[in-house]
Symmetry: C2
Subunit: 207 residues, 2 copies
DNA sequence: ATTATATTATACAGGTTTGTATAAAAAAAT
DNA sequence: ATTTTTTTATACAAACCTGTATAATATAAT
């Protein structure tokens, strides 16, 4: 995910900035400001680079955004979902991810919610590459959850008449709404109560 | 809510446009494009007016937005929530509102989700008048739902150990996520399944 | 018809954005 | 040390945005 083969340089003046550090900064800019409202110009100014330098390393705002999104996606609480192997209990992972998200979102000084959800909210349905890619990303996340719900049913963690698709949709909807709530400034206690209550309602045990 | 006393004119050249019609148009522009990305200039161009004319009737983009928001708020499915009297059953109203929302969101050619949710997602946490006002609006909606949940508990429609605050939060989160889902293009069937499943999970009966 | 009043047309200044183009600077390779 | 290669600095044109200011226009009131 980091830039390894990107740096197989041959000769010439070296960059004055660290690429990964730059992407991290840009991610926070998009997170704070959204996609459309943040101009290429502002990115350059805020990072202390000239537009020429930015254009040289990234061909567009879109390209920068995808890098930022990739960077975020690798550090989000729900990556745990993708690591559950068949046979392993599912409920505890849900609890872990949700509890972590509640603590994380409440601990951030600037309450910004989930970067991915924010971007999807802004760009879902847009007939652009960015909109399409965000839709794909969300569908991937949903598919992972469908798989986990089915696994939970097989493992008798959830009732066998559970509708996996609908339940997964509810999880996705919950996570989106949860993100908005945290963006609105809800306390960790509030967020945590929502998490445990929701998990119980879809049928999971909580500690 | 419509402009009545706004039109107590005395003399002078009459407007070339209908004020309410204009606000309706502007609402759709904000709905399509979001708040920040839509410029005052574009509003003027898209409505066929000059900036001078717009500035004359509305002092700012912000003012236009509030009019648009007010216009939308009066026609949204959840207005029904505010009309439930004490003693009246609550569950059927929830079902009605949710079912209507599912049908409505799926029927719109452009899938744009809920205008209010979109705006809140864009501007929640913003230290601006618009951000604050949206936060207030959402809190009002939440308060109405808290009241309804409490009423439902009193009327034995929901279990008496129901946590009204958390349940109302879950409803708000669901509605937000639901909006995002509809924006993403989910079918009416999908949306409807989510609604009935959610209502059952928080403890309501559904037809 | 004349006057008062409100709306619209037009123009301007100052700012921002994008994309490109050209020259200067810095380091690696020979 | 010279050449090659890449990054940076600077500049430009064209487009857009905002806010304001002034003149033209259209109607109600007298």
């Amino acid at each position: 995910m980091t830039s390894l083969e990107d740096d197989k340089r041959s000769a010439g003046r070296p960059r004055s900035f660290d690429r990964d550090q730059l992407i991290e900064k840009v991610m926070h800019l998009f997170w704070d400001r959204g996609y459309r409202d943040l101009s290429f110009n502002e990115i350059a100014t805020a990072t202390g680079l000239t537009r020429a330098s930015l254009y040289n390393s990234f061909k567009s705002k879109e390209a920068l955004f995808f890098e930022a999104l990739g960077n975020y996606s690798s550090s989000t609480p729900d990556v745990l979902f993708t690591k559950v192997k068949d046979g392993e209990p599912v409920g505890p992972v849900f609890y872990q991810v949700f509890a972590h998200a509640a603590k994380l979102r409440a601990s951030e000084e600037k309450k910004r919610g989930c970067f991915t959800v924010n971007c999807f909210a802004e760009l879902a349905g847009d007939d652009t590459v960015v909109g399409q890619e965000l839709a794909n990303l969300m569908e991937e996340k949903r598919a992972v959850i469908v798989r986990l719900i089915n696994q939970a049913v097989r493992q008798k963690e959830l009732p066998k008449d559970t509708d996996a698709e609908t339940t997964a949709n509810l999880v996705m909807a919950f996570l989106s709404g949860f993100s908005l709530f945290s963006k609105g400034g809800a306390s960790e206690k509030t967020l945590f109560s929502m998490c445990t209550s929701f998990l119980q309602q879809i049928g999971f045990q909580t500690p």
